[in-house]
Each structure stands twice: as structure tokens, then as C-alpha cells.
Subunit: 433 residues, 2 copies
């Protein structure tokens, strides 16, 4: 039997070669995107609220589908942490629904006049926000991401092609069915939201070739997935590979504050991209700071790996290698390095960091200024935990991810970052001389 | 003898394998970019004005180098139009210098606080513009582009690697030498501006692999060059392939205005990307409009190719094929199609256009609104010539090119579009709970 890109494609399309099926699927997304670009905010919000109701009324089916995924994952011997990420329950479904309601409450990012000027010849030049078009979202096993991504992409007027992990296939199908069912009654095109629901591993390869039909790919998952997508995609990719985030304790730091912040940045949620992985300490602060900080970190189960100067102050720590400094532990492990001065901290971060989030803790204004200018990362924090690098915390509302690229969008990507713009120019007969 | 990537590299680098030479060149650009990001506006403007003086004091050498390029081009049998584009004289050098002065007068795009908010927990979140980093600019034979690109990239704090066409090699070397000589005395890093001055055709291939070192490639030239760069580049590309620009004369158009605009859009400078290539006419306007417009266009030497309905009104025109509708003539040729209505015009443009510039001529507000929303192009004009799609005309100042992509920047790309941003967050000890 030929593999089927998506069960929502008509049977005559399902009979085609896989490459042709994906192309047809993308053409449908492109057509839907043109319609979506002109849909009112009211219709998009109606769809979000219908979906909230749908998640409630279809709760039993969704949990039943999820139970099948979980059973399969257990049979396949997945790690307990992975199975936990996969599992849905009433609470998690309620959180999913709350996310949809939050996106409904956010302002529509489409059709905003970003700039407007009247030129000397009388032309009125407007720069107006418009959707990007078609977005391909590739993600690993958390099924709640299906709803989050759909809400953000459709609210920003983009058609979405969803490609989730095979572990969550049944769950994603069930959630997608609810969201898709709400499209037409709300006046949105049915192809605004398509799920690639085949276990066929060649699906992603087919889709990544469809430049011209797909405007943007957003991969979310491990570094391996993201590298593969970045290498194969013929269209732009919105991504970050890793969050190797640093906290630098300056000579002029408030050391009590510094303890609170490094403990928070490392321990509050060690498995996420904006958790700290490396602590840099100015040599003049090291002997007063490191023993106290280390005691607090160890009390929370953190393993410390340090440079030679760190080991002199904390004799029991094992040495940190360059490999450590390049590692995103995502775990209760912290590398520590004593640096000569601020410039050495900046150099270390720009060399070993991932351009994600880095913090300086200092009471010295000029040190803060030098650090924020010289550190080439998406977010640079002064006297605050790296954990604040987040769309909600920055006031953007929900985010689809964080970008460490410099083109298009950097940092948290919310509704506005899922938009492009066009110039609309009004004249009364102007010609160029 | 081993080929040399750039004469400004030290001799021990010139002795390396080509791939290693290009990597070293890009590393130097990366180091220069870090310094440039912190250079004051005053220093960048000083460099621009020193370069203006340099172009004057080195005029004889530049023109002598250019004469060698022109003589070679003539010997190689290049077309007169190509040789004209290559040729420099006192006037063209003065225009080049005036371009540098104009960029000096523009505001610095770096370090602007684009957004600022105080979060409920007291964090101050700033979104601040920063340079992109290292830009590779690949262009064909016009040597004046060397100075234009250098001015825009360096003023926006980016290090630039220039790769011009081999026809202009001597001219580009001479202009580059003047611009580079002015860097150090102005306090800018010498590697801010490097010219790849080898006829070796593999240079571009080497450079396009240097993701991580080069942040952006801007190709400027024919479609062939741009396609090659887009296919090979591992980093983002700022580009437009073609300008297949449409003028749509609506049923409710002012036909006198429409004549003036199509004549201007087609004839004022037919060889540029924002010149019109196709005229679409509402069927109800065709019989009143086309004979008058055609007479005016023909009086200016324009050849018309038309659909069947056009041919009925203008019996002597030859038929337009789908191939015509897909062609950027860059010449005094115009394809013409009579359409049933506005929707047919929109469909034609979205199918055959290049997403560059399209105009509607109408007195009907709702038709204008529908057209500007539905046409998916970088610039959409109402009652104005397509020729206005330009950085100067839109008030951005000088531009490095026009983008038809939707990511990052769309339309004219000036100083601000050569920047990214970062988030800078100021706290007083906030931790996340």
C-alpha cells in the first residue's frame, strides 16, 4: 500500500506518488494562506474559542488516543521522562485550552501600519504587516505543542503544516482533528491546518524541498533534528540549536544577589534552553563568592565542574574541559570558570556560548554597558536570571520558539515575528522623472 | 603559483590552500565586525568623508585602472551596454562620492532602542538594533556599486567582503584601496572592508560555505548569478530574482492618468527591476484605453505583445504567450492582457509575477483595497508608477537592493534592514518563580 501523507487529503491525491502528495498538500496550504491573509480577527478568535470547546467535548477521544501512544512508548522502552512529556491528562488538556484562550486575547498582528510617511511628491507610503504564508512546523514528542503552534500560526494569518514525532502520532491526530473541525464553521479555510500523519520517515525530506510553496520551517526538538532541518531545508528556518547560557559574576557584583540568581538560573528548571550551563566569576570575586555559591548549588544537587582556579577554591570539584564549556547539560551540572576580567568573560562567552542568553551581575554601570554591547547573544541580562528570556516574560505573549539567528527575528518569536510586511503606496497619478 | 584570495592578506596566509585563505579572510571580517559594532557614528562618518576625499585625490589612478578594464572588455568583445556600465569618468566618480556623502548624512541605524517596556516584576526589557555581522556582497560589472555597498554596510556596523565581477577587477581594486586606506585613520578596523580580488572562479563557492563566519550574502546581478548563490549559500541570502511588474488598469481608472503611468512605468528606464513588463486591462476599459495607450507607447518605441482580446483591438500586435508573461524583458517590450475583472488581474499577478512591484490604477476605493490586500508583492502601488519602488523614493535613503523574500526584510533594503536586534534586560536581582 502506498503511504499517505495526510488522511485529510482526498483519496485521488492519496493515490499519487509521495512527492506529488506533499506538493499537493503544500499547494492546498498556499491556497488556504491566501484566504487566511484576509480573514478578520473575529473569525480567527472564533476558531480559537471553538477549539477550546472542542478540546473539552472531545476530551475522552483525545485521552484515549494518547493512552495508545503512551502504551506503545512503554512497549518500545522509552525513558520515563520522555513518556511523561508524551502523556496527556485532564489538567494538561485544560492548560492546552488556556493557551488557546490566551492567544485569542492577544492583538491581531496582521494589517498593522508599521510606518507611514507622505513623500515630498505626495505619495503616501505605508509599511503594513502581512502573514508570512505557509509555515511547516516540525516537532518532537509533546502533543500540547500541536495546539500551541496552530494557535500562533493561524492567528498570525499563516497556513500551517504540522509534522509531529511518531511517538505522539495518535495524540496529534486527535488534537488536530478537533482544531481542524473548528475551521470551516468559523469561516476559515479547512486547509489552514494540515497534519502530516504518516509514520513514513521520508515525509520531512519531501517537504523541505518545497521552496516557493512553504515560506518558513520551524523545527523544535533536539539538536540533531534541528541540524538536519537546517541542512536540508531549501527555505528559511527559524531556530536555535542550543542554549549554552552564562552567568558572569563581576568584580562589582552584589554577591548575595549573585547567589540567588545563579541558583535560580541553574536549578529552577534545568531542562530548558534558558537555564544557565556555565558560571564565570571575576578573579577578585572568586574567593568570597564561589564557596558560598557552591554550597547553595550543591544543596540543590548540582554537580560542579571547574577550571584550575575553581578547583583551588573548591578542592573536591572535578575539572571542566573545553568539552564541558561547549555542552548544554540540560541537567543539574554546572561548569565554572574564574576569569581575569570582564573582557575575558566576554571572550569566553562569544567563543563557547550559543548566542542564546547571557547575564552579567554587577553594580558597575560601565561594566554592564560593556557586557551588553560586546556579548553577541539574542538576550543579554543585567542583574537578572537567564530564565527570563521568554516571550511571556518579555511581554510578547505566547511564543513559538526562540531564535538565535540574526536575520528576521531574534529572541522570542511570537505573533508579530510570524509576520512579514509589504509596502502599500497611494498616489494620485505620480510618475517618476 | 597558488591563487590569492586577497592582496591585503599577509603573505603567510596567501601561501595557504584557497579554502584556508577564505576562511582566514572571513575570520578577519568576523573580528572586524565585533569592533565595528561598537564604533561611534562620528568615526563611521569620518571614514565616509575621508573616502570622498580619497576618491578625489586618487581620481587619476582609479580612471587609469578603469581604462585597463574597459580595454580588456573591448578586446573580449563585450556588448556596448556592458562596457558603458563598466566605464568610469569624472562625473561618475563625483556621483560615487556624492553617494558616500549621502550615507554619512543618514542617521546611524545601530543602537536604536526599538522597543522598551517595564515588566510587572520590574525588569526593563529593551529591544536594541545591532549590526548583522559579516556581509558578503557579490555583484557584477558596475564598479560604482563597490563604494555604495561599502558605505551602507560599514555605516550599519557590518564588516564587508566584496566580490565583484572579473570585468571590473582593476577598477574595484582601485576603489577598494581608497576606501580601505581611510579605515584606520578614522579609527575603524582595517579588515572591515576586504576585496576578493582574484579571477579564480572557485572563490564564491568557498565563501558560500562559510556559515557561522558570514551572516548574510547579498548577490546583485543577473538571475543566473542570484540562483547560483541562493542554491549554494549555507547562510541567508537577501535577494530578488526578477522584477516582473504589472500595471492593472481597472474599470474605474482615470484613463488619462493611466496612460501617463503606463508610459512612465514602461519607458522611463526600461532596464531596471521596477519597470513594468505587463499591462493588465479590465475588459470594460479596454476599448477606450488600449488604442490610446498603445499609440503613446509605440511613439516611444515600445513593442506590444497581446492576448487575443488585445489583438482584436490592436490588430497589428503579435500574440503574447505564457512565456511572455513570465519574462522580465528589461527592454522596450510590453505584454498586454485584457482581464475579466479585478480578481482575474490579481490571479494573473500572483501566478506570473515575481512578487516585486504591482500597481492598480483606479478611482474605486474598494477595488484599491482589494488589490493591495490580495496581491502578494513587496510593494503594491495605487495610482502611481511602479518606478517609485526604491529606497530613496520610500524615504529610507540609499538602498543595497530590493528584497522579494518575506523573511527579515521585504522591499527596499537600506541601513536599517542591514541590522538585527538583541534584547537587553535590566533587573535588580529578579529570579523566576
Amino acid at each position: 500500500m502506498r503511504s499517505t501523507a495526510s488522511p485529510s487529503l482526498p483519496s485521488e491525491v492519496q493515490a499519487l506518488e509521495p512527492a506529488a502528495q506533499y506538493e499537493e498538500l503544500a499547494h492546498r496550504a498556499r491556497d488556504a494562506a491566501r484566504k487566511l491573509a484576509e480573514v478578520s480577527s473575529a473569525a480567527k478568535n472564533e476558531w480559537l474559542l471553538r477549539s477550546v470547546n472542542g478540546l473539552r467535548s472531545h476530551e475522552a477521544e483525545i485521552l484515549e488516543a494518547n493512552a495508545r501512544d503512551v502504551a506503545q512508548a512503554e512497549a518500545d522502552g522509552l525513558a520515563p521522562a520522555q513518556i511523561d512529556r508524551l502523556r496527556l491528562d485532564s489538567n494538561r488538556l485544560a492548560t492546552m485550552a488556556a493557551g488557546l484562550r490566551e492567544v485569542a486575547a492577544l492583538p491581531d498582528p496582521v494589517g498593522r501600519v508599521l510606518e507611514r510617511s507622505i513623500r515630498p511628491n505626495g505619495l503616501e507610503v505605508q509599511k503594513v504587516s502581512v502573514p508570512l504564508g505557509v509555515i511547516l512546523f516540525i516537532y518532537e514528542s509533546r502533543p500540547n505543542v500541536t495546539a500551541d503552534a496552530a494557535a500562533l500560526c493561524v492567528k498570525s494569518g499563516n497556513a500551517l503544516i504540522l509534522r509531529g514525532g511518531k511517538e505522539a502520532l495518535q495524540s496529534n491526530r486527535a488534537v488536530h482533528a478537533v482544531l481542524q473541525e473548528a475551521l470551516l464553521p468559523s469561516g476559515l479555510p479547512a486547509d489552514a491546518l494540515q497534519l502530516v500523519a504518516t509514520p513514513d520517515r521520508s515525509a520531512v525530506g519531501h517537504l523541505l524541498r518545497l521552496e516557493g510553496l512553504i515560506d518558513l520551517v520551524i523545527p523544535r526538538g533536539g539538536v540533531g533534528l534541528i541540524r538536519r532541518v537546517a541542512a536540508e531545508a531549501r527555505m528559511p528556518v527559524l531556530k536555535h540549536y542550543q542554549g549554552i547560557c552564562h552567568v558572569y559574576v563581576d568584580r562589582a557584583a552584589d554577591l548575595d544577589m549573585a547567589c540567588r540568581i545563579i541558583v535560580n538560573a541553574k536549578c529552577q528548571r534545568p531542562g530548558v534552553c534558558n537555564a544557565a550551563e556555565c558560571l564565570l566569576v571575576h578573579q577578585e570575586a572568586a574567593s568570597a563568592f564561589l564557596p558560598v555559591a557552591a554550597a547553595q548549588l550543591r544543596a540543590r544537587g548540582v554537580e560542579i565542574r571547574g577550571c584550575a582556579a575553581t578547583q583551588r577554591l573548591l578542592p573536591e570539584v572535578r575539572p571542566a574541559t573545553d568539552e564541558d564549556y561547549r555542552t548544554e547539560y540540560l541537567d543539574l551540572i554546572l561548569s565554572v570558570k574564574v576569569v581575569d576580567d570582564l573582557e575575558a568573560a566576554v571572550a569566553h562567552i562569544n567563543r563557547f556560548g550559543s548566542g542564546h542568553t547571557d547575564a552579567i551581575l554587577t553594580e558597575d554601570q560601565s561594566a554592564a554597558r560593556r557586557f551588553t554591547t560586546a556579548v553577541d547573544s539574542a538576550a543579554v541580562m543585567v542583574n537578572a536570571s537567564t530564565r527570563f528570556h521568554d516571550g511571556f516574560e518579555f511581554g510578547l505573549g505566547a511564543e513559538i520558539g526562540i531564535s538565535t539567528d540574526k536575520m528576521h527575528a531574534r529572541g522570542p518569536c511570537g505573533l508579530r515575528e510570524l509576520c512579514s510586511y509589504k509596502y502599500v503606496v497611494f498616489g494620485n497619478g505620480q510618475v517618476r522623472s
